[in-house]
């Protein structure tokens, strides 16, 4: 039964497309994480909860009768200020401390956010309806929800915009300079405090976009943020910091891997397989690193 995918080749196409579309969305979240990890050296455990909060913003405008797709514009704007505020309130106090402190702090933020969302939006699972319909391929044997295609398209669009912004704008250059060497950047007149705040804001805005897309493709619930944190953490670990193409490839790879693990190993091992892969990659990296050291000796 588990090898159904090899008997029906169309399933292979379906799985690949599903995986890639989902992976692009993950990559967007992971890119935000990689950005602020690279610049501020902070592992943000609350990443997934920022995503869900972004989703709830889109859901709220949907309840007001506005199409939830507008969420991909409104949600990042609000989330940017949420991120900025969060930086001024908490993150700036942990930014120069060791990694452990920042993990603890963001873990705390994650819990506070979950409870707040639960308090404001309730504990019910909710969905926003895009009514985008479905694209049928290969004589209806492969179906792609248009909402998923839309979400992948928007993710790519924002990713490209961000890359251009990072290259061309003054703030973008300041962010990259700070990431390379914060002290040198400061000496040369970059206001690193502002750069940090902006970076965290941009990360939150990316989460806002992803959240709005999740509200129309998947489901929202105050307590599901962690699974997005884990996935983006995994993508960043594989891709490395500050490398957008690698993040995109690694994101799509993860999406594909999840889908195929589902067909071949069984649905129950889908998430487990991701963790197994994470362990394998970490072991492999460690192995490579230890070889290098020996060589240096």
């Amino acid at each position: 039964m588990d090898f159904l995918i090899f008997k029906a080749p169309m399933l292979m196409v379906q799985a690949s497309l599903d995986g890639i579309l989902l992976g692009i969305l993950f990559a967007l979240i992971a890119y935000g994480m990689a950005l602020q990890w690279g610049v501020m050296n902070i592992i943000n455990i609350a990443q997934g909860d920022l995503v869900i909060l972004g989703g709830y913003i889109a859901y709220t405008i949907y309840l007001w009768g506005i199409h939830p797709a507008w969420g991909v514009i409104i949600s990042p704007i609000i989330m940017f200020f949420v991120g900025w505020g969060l930086y001024k309130l908490v993150i700036n106090k942990v930014v120069d401390r060791d990694l452990f402190i920042s993990i603890l702090a963001t873990f705390g933020i994650a819990i506070v956010f979950q409870q707040l969302m639960n308090f404001i939006f309730g504990a019910d699972v909710v969905v926003a309806q895009s009514e985008y319909g479905t694209t049928m391929l290969f004589d209806n044997s492969v179906t792609l929800p248009n909402s998923k295609i839309f979400s992948a398209f928007i993710s790519v669009l924002y990713a490209i915009a961000l890359v251009i912004y990072m290259r061309k704008s003054k703030l973008g250059r300041a962010i990259r300079a700070t990431a390379q060497n914060a002290r040198a950047a400061k000496i040369l007149g970059v206001d690193t405090e502002k750069v940090y705040a902006a970076t965290f804001g941009i990360n939150a805005a990316l989460c806002g976009i992803a959240g709005a897309l999740i509200s129309i493709t998947l489901t929202l619930h105050p307590y599901v943020g962690l699974s997005y944190t884990v996935r983006s953490f995994m993508i960043v670990i594989v891709a490395g910091l500050g490398n957008l193409p690698a993040v995109a490839v690694s994101g799509m790879g993860l999406g594909l891997f999840e889908e195929f693990a589902d067909y071949i190993l069984g649905t129950e091992f889908r998430i487990g397989a991701v963790f197994m892969l994470l362990v394998l990659i970490l072991v492999y990296r460690r192995f490579k690193l230890s070889k290098k050291r020996e060589y240096l000796k």
């Binding site: 159904l4 799985a15 989902l22």
Partner: protein, 413 residues
């Protein structure tokens, strides 16, 4: 200290001791109040259903108290409940149960929300021999552990969707059917799955897809793609509200055609409201529906209950509220038959419970589960954009005919 003062102190201590031993050998009965305790999820991920449960309890307490209360040994008593918020956390629930029993001296408990939390509390109530009537823990494993003080007014989880398989077989002319199923990996959903396995064996049906969904998962696309490829007669999905909402979203988006779709948690997920016409024809298991013809003297009928509940709390009662109200009726009945506050007498009276409530008949099996009430199935039906749940099985209460097979997506407007 002079002699009189010493005597006075001794006297006071003796009285205090006597009072303490009196309250512990009998029950937590304060003045005219019988005090019940409950740890309940008012915050955390079960908070909405926790509130439904609490509203159900409160509604019944008010009603019973207003209608004369509980008569024990010729004296009228009223119910009172001490609540603590368990934060949807099993560990916290167990601690709070301990606190209710040891610090607050509660001697009768009402259940929390969900199978998981009931499982956490049951060993505590069992240890202190505290009778607990629970209304929201349906997992089969609760009733196979030999608990003596646990009583559940609801049908166990394995019965949730058995009826649906019987219905599918009936529609197939008595021959076995091909079943595709996807269940979340948690105690409750896996119990529902066991029920389906039993039903499949009994009817000679074949299970062709048997997916277990990880708890964190909110994407069923792979399972549904398989369903499309193998074309089963029935698709069964259970994964709490998230599972129900995800399934309908992706079935409609991927245009998965199945003749019959059976699920749980449709009403908790507000399926017909959130997904509208996309959820039409989904078949849902439910413990209770307001249109059933059961009656009692406190709430009248289900319809009357729903009306009063709506007036009091501003929304239609989900079955979680109805079964919670029924738990109080069971306690009242047991106290009056025991005619005593002795815990073991009350426990024995609970064992012998056999009554009808607006929620259904209640009679406890050897494991404490309710064996007198069948599960019901309703089907989501829409008129224009207005969708509602109509009872289709068992036939005795069916208000509508079961619509089968579900029309193909290409034929649906």
């Amino acid at each position: 200290m002079n002699k009189i003062a010493k005597l006075f102190v001794t006297f006071i201590s003796a009285i205090t001791l006597a009072l303490v031993s009196f309250t512990s050998s009998f029950a937590k009965v304060e003045g005219e109040y019988i005090v019940l305790g409950s740890a309940i999820s008012l915050t955390g991920k079960y908070s909405s259903n926790g509130v439904h449960t609490q509203n159900g309890y409160n509604m019944a307490v008010d009603r019973i108290n207003k209608m004369g209360g509980v008569e024990v040994q010729g004296k009228k008593y009223k119910f009172e409940i001490i609540y603590y918020d368990d934060e949807s956390n099993p560990k916290r629930a167990a601690q709070l149960a301990e606190r209710l029993i040891k610090q607050d001296g509660v001697h009768y408990m009402l259940g929390p929300y969900s199978s998981g939390l009931t499982k956490a509390i049951a060993p505590v109530t069992e240890k202190y021999k505290i009778p607990m009537v629970e209304a929201n823990g349906a997992s089969r494993s609760l009733f196979t552990k030999g608990y003596k003080y646990l009583f559940a007014v609801l049908s166990p989880a394995n019965q949730y969707l058995e009826v649906a398989i019987d219905l599918a077989v009936e529609k197939n002319g008595g021959k076995g059917v091909k079943i595709a199923q996807a269940f979340e990996q948690d105690a409750f959903s896996q119990d529902v799955r066991l029920g389906i396995l039993d039903a499949a064996k009994r009817t000679g049906s074949e299970i062709i897809i048997d997916d277990k969904l990880p708890k964190e998962l909110n994407d069923m696309a792979a399972t549904l793609a398989k369903v499309k490829a193998v074309k089963p007669d029935v698709l069964v999905v259970s994964g709490h509200t998230k599972g129900a909402l995800t399934a309908i979203r992706q079935i409609s988006e991927m245009k998965v055609d199945v003749p019959m779709l059976a699920m749980t948690h449709c009403d908790a997920a507000k399926l017909s409201k959130q997904h509208g016409k996309k959820s039409e024809f989904a078949l849902c298991a439910s413990q209770w529906h307001k249109n059933l013809s059961y009656k009692d003297k406190f709430f009248g009928s289900g319809k009357k209950y729903a009306k009063d509940f709506q007036k009091e709390f501003g929304y239609d009662p989900p079955y979680q509220s109805a079964e919670s109200s029924a738990a109080l009726l069971v306690f009242k009945d047991a106290f009056e038959r025991a005619n005593s506050f002795d815990r073991d007498a009350v426990r024995d009276a609970l064992v012998d419970t056999e009554m009808q409530t607006f929620y259904g008949n209640i009679k406890f099996g050897p494991g404490g589960q309710n064996v007198a009430k069948p599960m019901i199935l309703f089907q989501v039906r829409c008129k224009g954009d207005d969708c509602e749940n109509r009872v289709v099985a068992p036939t005795k209460w069916a208000s509508d005919k079961f619509y089968h097979p579900i029309p193909k997506w290409s034929e649906r407007s």
